[in-house]
């Protein structure tokens, strides 16, 4: 199954459950309290996911390692390499 199909399946299941509960399609006589909670759930979940995404990406950007030493080490090795290669006869 492709990821798209997995998502469509998952969304269908959630929407069906939500629809059944909110509009009492199976005549389950679900208490009003539950229906009031379930009804705005999709929007709530989207908002929660949105906040989670922003927080996660923000955190990851903030903690993205800056490899200062790697850059310096590379510079030093470039100099070393150029000297060594010249000695070995390389014509740049």
């Amino acid at each position: 199954m492709t990821k798209l199909l997995e998502w469509l399946l998952g969304v269908s299941v959630v929407v069906t459950a939500w629809g059944l509960l909110t509009f009492d399609l199976l005549d389950l006589k679900v208490p009003q309290v539950y229906r009031e909670v379930v009804w705005p759930m999709p929007v709530y979940l989207l908002v929660v996911f949105g906040c989670y995404s922003i927080a996660t990406v923000g955190y990851r950007v903030a903690t993205f390692n800056d490899c200062e030493e790697a850059a310096q080490e590379l510079q030093a090795q470039i100099k070393e390499a150029k000297l060594d290669l010249k000695k070995k006869g390389l014509k740049f």
Partner: protein, 255 residues
Amino acid sequence: FICPDVRAGKSSSKRQANKDKYSVLLPTYNERENLPLIVWLLVKYFGESGYDYEIIVIDDGSPDGTLQVAQQLQGIYGAHRVLLRPREKKLGLGTAYIHGIKHATGNFIIIMDADLSHHPKFIPEFIQKQKEGGFDVVSGTRYSGNGGVYGWDLRRKLISRGANFLTQVLLRPGASDLTGSFRLYKKEVLEQLVDRCVSKGYVFQMEMIVRARQLGYSIGEVPISFVDRVYGESKLGGNEIVSFLKGLLTLFATT
């Protein structure tokens, strides 16, 4: 008679371990300045590690004389260490890998960028990781452990992390860095994957990992540092972002 068999078994498994050979594929285009440096670094770190290796330079008809520099390097390090397999013109990364694999005599292939953004010092770590876990693929990651980047501004980091987050949510690939191109593959695994991949650019590298997962291959990770010295010249523009998104959605819908 047990003893001779045990001894024979031990020495042949030692020979087995020493039979590993690593072919480094270096597709190049206008890397006249960087090629000698990357080859020097590869020779240094492979030499120190004792692993058997070869470097295959696949130059796509660079107008700046990259091939001539490669020929000099072959003279210095030997034709068994530096192999030249040039092509007439710029033909793309996927075909460069196919071309390189055809001429590789190693049983492992290492792919990396030739512009010094990937540092050969990580290759022994890749090899070690592969041996530890018997992995089919070892991928260098900038996003986890003490992996990281040098030379990116806030905008670039934001785009990078944002794109990676989107990829993780949509594809759940089981690898932290999908667009990275510093990887070690078992030769037959790379052959299988390149055969099946159809995308280009960043998305090609993503597709390789996604297909590897599909085919049940195991993927290990090693944190790497990515030193970007060309970011100033080649900013990540709208076009690249759009083609990345198109590619991501295609993978989402087809894998």
